[in-house]
């Protein structure tokens, strides 16, 4: 039997070549796509792991801390810094006891402290009155925020610098030293962590500069210092009552704040040179009478010296002075405070489909018991985007003190956290979030967009990351039992995002929720998503306009994973369906073209079963060939990525291909029954039989009736064309039109760019197979009508008309496929997305759905039409 079939093929090389091309297309298509889909799945998982992986899987927050924005699945990247405790140590213990919780790292945002730092010095060159203008400037990328003062110094003019009355009498300080140290004030964030857990979570122990990390021998002391009950102090009018906590600290050696401190020394150009005591006395009297500083302000000045310290220098000074134990009395003053957002319409919805506006609390006043109530806009906070929150009250007398026991520096850049600069996930405690200033207050684009950074403002719109870290023990002493702001959890056995990880994390998160009543959110597989945020006008400051900030879209990678898996399953199913149709068609056509041959064989006494056997064996031989090729290709692909493509899977694919070829041969072998051996007695008529639809009076109606007379086989090509077209529509819509998951977040965009093109390759492959299928069918139609076409030519039809007829046949097939495809894609789209298609989308859908199939149909008809034109007219007369 096999010998018979092979010799058959050998003698009809043209047909065999066509078979091989089809087989190659199917095998290469299937194997490459399956291989690619596997490695693409690998790509997704890899990129999730490497670029978007948060260092923790679940974050636990106090209940009631969910922002409005989380309804959209979006979390403010900076949310951790705004949480002021709320989780108890009991809760932490409960969490730690849950199975599969590998690391539970608590963090306590203790609040802000200010320190006075020496940032430089100036030299008075000679005696005289000097003006020093000190300016502390921070820049958030949009504008400068400065805080400065002016002071006057009398150098070497015989005033006693220890006499405190001088300043109130004359409005100037006295100096006898040539050098004057300059002081600046800095605000930074202090947080408590669990050293052991933090070491496991982010490798904090590895990021310390020297070798001194937190250890068990570090002691935390706490004492209460109060004026109450101390008569001496009370008599002096002092009233204080605070807790002083002595605790080990490490400090970040990197400042994320963009600031500088500047001092300008100027000499006042006085009429007198103040050389004699009389001159000095006269001038001081003048000064006292004419309004002190205001009087000094009226004089011309002459610049002497300018001193400036950059961010780096300032931070270096801070560290140096800390390490030397310069700060014994850090007052924890401001508490962390969250931002409130409200959803607003996006000014450019095409670019940012989600926009929020910060809602600053209105008219913030502070209420100090027993003292005056009033506006506190005079306080040094530049802008109050957040609700003001303090330890006790702004008078400092009850705010807790931290006496730092400095251990070492740590470098936040050396922590083992995601640090791809292009795609940074800002969900880390240790990284200050960034934003870009995109639109100004009048919604005009900022060109080029400016990078926006955090300032040291405790109530600003971007919050700095902690500069000083201490232990949870210290945090407990300072804030009490509910000191923990958040717990970051790592679950054992969860390495990469995916359905299994997801269900495990869900289970752990659910257990945390039910055990503790806290909020537990899965952060593994989150993606940054650009969100537009309006920075409103606050206090005296105008609105900054809009900044774009990468927010955390939770569950994103799972969604993308699902989407990708869905996409690939769809693609593979489509390709397989098209492959089945192709195999079915080729088998059917092989059968049709050999119908007469089979009739002869039946006449000479072949049984149906023998013919069936022949057809099945033939099909299985091709199937075997295809499987063999596929097997080889998959093996080669496997070499590159052995894990993703198991042998078992390859075998499954091979079995599937064999099954296609088996199923494809079933229908023709069933049709064998219908062949009457009597047909060999017939003297081929021009048209045996045919259904008709309307009158035939032109090329169009002729093509139409040709199609209708062979409607069953044409139905196959209609399906073969419409299926990939409908799928193409689906992918186009998912990717571009419906702003599906893919293009709204950066991860989705990345994935779409990396692997989305594969979708289109697959569709194109499907369409090529569809072209082959249709071409074969039309070819067969032409073949069967050889005599008819020859007759038309004999009757004087020109070649253009023959071309026209066959091409029209293809185009009509395409058109019908398009209409079928429209229904198909509408069905799929409305199932997936509901009725949310706009008119424009409908228009596209119809245009694509009709355009592509017609093109496919026309392409398919090209070769058959050439063949039809080449039919010699005499053939009809044979």
């Amino acid at each position: 039997m096999i010998k018979w079939i092979v010799s058959h093929w050998k003698r009809d090389t043209g047909k065999f070549a066509l078979l091989v091309i089809g087989a190659l297309l199917i095998s290469s298509g299937l194997s490459i796509l399956i291989g690619l889909s596997e490695s693409s799945k690998g790509t997704i998982v890899n990129s999730l792991e490497k670029k978007w992986n948060a260092s923790y899987d679940i974050v636990v927050r106090p209940s009631g801390t969910k922002s409005e924005t989380e309804k959209d699945g979006l979390i403010d990247p900076n949310y951790l810094s705004g949480l002021q405790g709320g989780i108890s140590f009991d809760d932490l213990d409960k969490i730690k006891e849950i199975d599969d919780v590998e690391i539970a790292a608590p963090i306590s945002i203790l609040g802000f402290s200010s320190i006075i730092e020496i940032f430089g010095e100036v030299h008075f060159p000679e005696s005289g009155i000097y003006k020093i203008t000190t300016n502390y400037v921070e820049n958030d990328g949009v504008r400068d925020y400065s805080d400065g003062y002016t002071a006057y110094y009398g150098f070497d003019i015989g005033l006693n610098h220890e006499d405190m009355d001088i300043i109130s009498r004359y409005g100037l300080f006295a100096s006898t030293e040539e050098n004057l140290e300059l002081h600046g004030s800095f605000t930074f964030l202090v947080a408590g962590i669990d050293p052991a857990e933090e070491a496991q979570l982010v490798g904090l122990d590895e990021a310390v500069d020297g070798s001194r990390y937190f250890s068990d021998s570090d002691k935390v002391h706490s004492i209460n210092e109060t004026s109450q009950g101390d008569e001496e102090l009370e008599e002096l009018g002092l009233d204080f009552n605070y807790k002083r906590v002595t605790a080990p600290v490490i400090m970040s050696n990197f400042s994320f704040v963009n600031n500088y401190q500047e001092a300008i020394l100027e000499k006042l150009d006085l009429e007198t040179d103040l050389e004699s005591e009389e001159d000095i006395k006269e001038f001081l009297t003048e000064l006292e009478q004419n309004g002190k500083e205001d009087y000094l302000d009226t004089f011309e000045t002459e610049p002497v010296e300018t001193v400036k310290a950059t961010s780096e220098e300032l931070h270096e000074n801070l560290l140096e002075q800390s390490s030397l134990g310069a700060y014994r009395d850090l007052i924890l003053y401001e508490k962390p405070s969250p931002l409130t957002y409200k959803a607003v319409p996006s000014p450019f919805p095409e670019r940012w489909n989600i926009a929020y506006e910060i809602v600053p609390p209105a008219n913030q006043t502070v209420n100090i018991p027993g003292e005056k109530n009033g506006d506190i806009s005079d306080y040094t906070y530049y802008t109050k985007y957040r609700e003001l929150a303090f330890y006790d009250d702004p008078s400092l007398s009850r705010a807790p003190r931290l006496t730092p026991d400095f251990l070492d520096y740590y470098d936040p850049r050396q922590l083992s956290i995601s640090s791809d600069p292009v795609t940074e996930l800002p969900m880390e405690t240790y990284r200050t979030p960034t934003a870009k200033h995109m639109l100004d207050a009048s919604n005009s684009p900022v060109n080029p967009p400016k990078q926006v950074t955090a300032t040291s403002n405790p109530f600003g719109y971007l919050m700095q990351s902690p500069t000083m870290l201490t232990t949870m023990e210290a945090a407990r002493k300072i804030m009490g039992e509910e000191a923990i702001s958040a717990v970051r959890i790592k679950v054992s056995g969860v390495n990469s995002p995916g359905p299994e990880s997801q269900s495990k994390l869900e289970a752990v998160a659910q257990e945390i929720r039910s055990e503790t009543g806290l909020e537990a959110d899965i952060t593994l597989g989150s993606s940054p998503q650009p969100v537009l945020i309006k920075i409103p006008s606050v206090d005296d400051l105008d609105s900054l306009g809009w900044v774009e900030q990468p927010w955390i879209k939770t569950g994103e990678s799972i969604a993308i994973y699902d989407e990708a898996v869905l996409g690939y399953s769809g693609i593979i199913i489509c390709l397989m369906a098209v492959a089945i149709m192709y195999v079915f068609t080729t088998n059917l056509i092989a059968f049709l073209s050999r119908k007469k041959e089979f009739a002869v064989l039946k006449a000479v006494g072949w049984r149906n079963s023998k013919l069936r056997h022949l057809l099945l064996t033939e099909s299985m031989l091709i199937g075997g060939f295809v499987s063999f090729l596929t097997f080889i290709v998959l093996l080669i692909l496997r070499q590159e990525n052995p894990e993703s493509l198991s042998i078992w899977r390859i075998c499954l694919i091979i079995c599937f291909i064999l099954l296609i070829y088996f199923v494809g041969a079933l229908y023709p072998s069933y049709l064998v029954h219908n062949i009457s051996p009597h047909q060999v007695m017939k003297q081929g008529e021009v048209s045996a039989k045919g259904a008709r639809f309307g009158r035939t009076n032109g090329v169009v109606s002729l093509a139409r009736n040709n199609l209708i007379s062979r409607w069953t086989r044409n139905l196959v090509s209609v399906l073969a064309i419409s299926l990939p077209t409908a799928l193409l529509i689906l992918f186009l819509f998912v990717s571009f039109q419906l702003n599906g998951v893919m293009y709204t977040s950066w991860l989705g965009e990345y994935v779409a760019l990396e692997i989305g093109s594969m979708h289109y390759y697959a569709i194109i492959l499907s369409l090529i197979i569809a072209i082959m299928t249709t071409a074969e069918l039309i070819w067969q139609n032409v073949l069967e009508r050889t005599r008819e076409i020859a007759l038309f030519k004999a009757l004087g039809w020109g070649n253009p008309r023959i071309y026209m007829m066959v091409l029209l046949e293809g185009a009509i097939l395409g058109l019908i496929s398009g209409i079928v495809g429209i229904f198909l894609s509408i069905g799929i789209l409305s199932y997936l997305y509901g009725d949310s298609l706009s008119f424009g989308q409908w228009l596209w859908l119809v245009l694509i759905n009709v355009g592509i199939p017609v093109v496919v149909g026309l392409f398919s008809a090209v070769f058959p039409s050439i063949r039809a034109v080449n039919i010699e007219p005499y053939r009809g007369l044979e």
């Binding site: 039997m1 018979w4 010799s7 058959h8 003698r11 009809d12 007469k596 041959e597 002869v600 064989l601 039946k602 006449a603 000479v604 006494g605 072949w606 049984r607 149906n608 079963s609 023998k610 029954h673 009457s676 051996p677 009597h678 060999v680 007695m681 003297q683």
Partner: protein, 236 residues
């Protein structure tokens, strides 16, 4: 070994009720293996249809066909194939050789996957020798002339050592000279193999060489003539 084929009241119609064509109208006839019977008639007279029904290629609309005592209307398609394969050899006007097979492969086609008491290949070669094509064993049909193709078809009809050979206008596509040679060949085969031959033709001259001539018109037998009385007579 079937010695005679008997048709009783055979009617064959084509098409649906409103456009019915009657190809055969109540025909009863008995054919004997010893005869070379020719069926003549103009085109459309039903002679080819009669041959199809005799050769079990088609089933009659009405009536029964007996191979000796066996009513073949009652047997199933697979058994009919079997019957054709073993007992009947066909020769067609258009030869109907399988284009992808060589001469000898075409001859062997009916025996494909069938066990025989004799050596199939030797037999096929003998037969091709008999039809005068011993030098064309491995030629493809397209490399053969019409007459040669028909000889291959004859060899194919003989390969299974049938009881009957049914030939439908075997010379219809051939020129006169070749036709005569083919008929002579058939006569020779008749002598050698003692099989019954049923020959459909519209060529009166050819039909004269038969033992019995059945003339048909409009689906009916209008004459049944025995020409050579040397052979055993059969009475209807």
């Amino acid at each position: 070994m079937y010695k005679q084929i008997q048709l009783n009241g055979i009617t064959k119609t084509y098409g649906k009720q409103n456009v019915k064509t009657v190809a055969l109208n109540d025909i009863s006839i008995r054919l004997h293996k010893n005869n070379l019977t020719s069926i003549v008639g103009s085109s459309g007279s039903g002679k080819s249809t009669l041959l199809s029904i005799v050769g079990t290629l088609e089933k009659p609309t009405k009536g029964t066909v007996y191979y000796d005592e066996k009513n073949i209307s009652e047997i199933r398609a697979n058994q009919l194939s079997e019957l054709r394969n073993i007992h009947i050899g066909f020769i067609f006007q258009q030869f109907h050789l399988l284009p992808a097979l060589t001469a000898i492969e075409n001859v062997l086609a009916p025996l494909f996957h069938r066990k025989t008491s004799y050596n199939k290949n030797t037999k096929a070669k003998e037969l091709l020798e008999l039809v005068g094509l011993s030098d064309k064993l491995h030629a493809l049909p397209s490399q053969l002339s019409g007459g040669q193709q028909q000889r291959v078809a004859i060899a194919r009809a003989l390969i299974a050592e049938p009881d009957w050979i049914l030939a439908d206008e075997p010379t219809g596509n051939l020129d006169t000279e070749t036709s005569e040679k083919i008929i002579a060949l058939l006569m020779e085969i008749k002598q050698q193999t003692a099989c019954g031959i049923l020959l459909v033709t519209h060529d009166i001259a050819l039909s004269r060489q038969a033992d019995r001539i059945i003339e048909m018109k409009d689906g009916q037998i209008i004459a049944d003539t025995r020409i050579n009385n040397n052979l055993v007579q059969t009475n209807d």
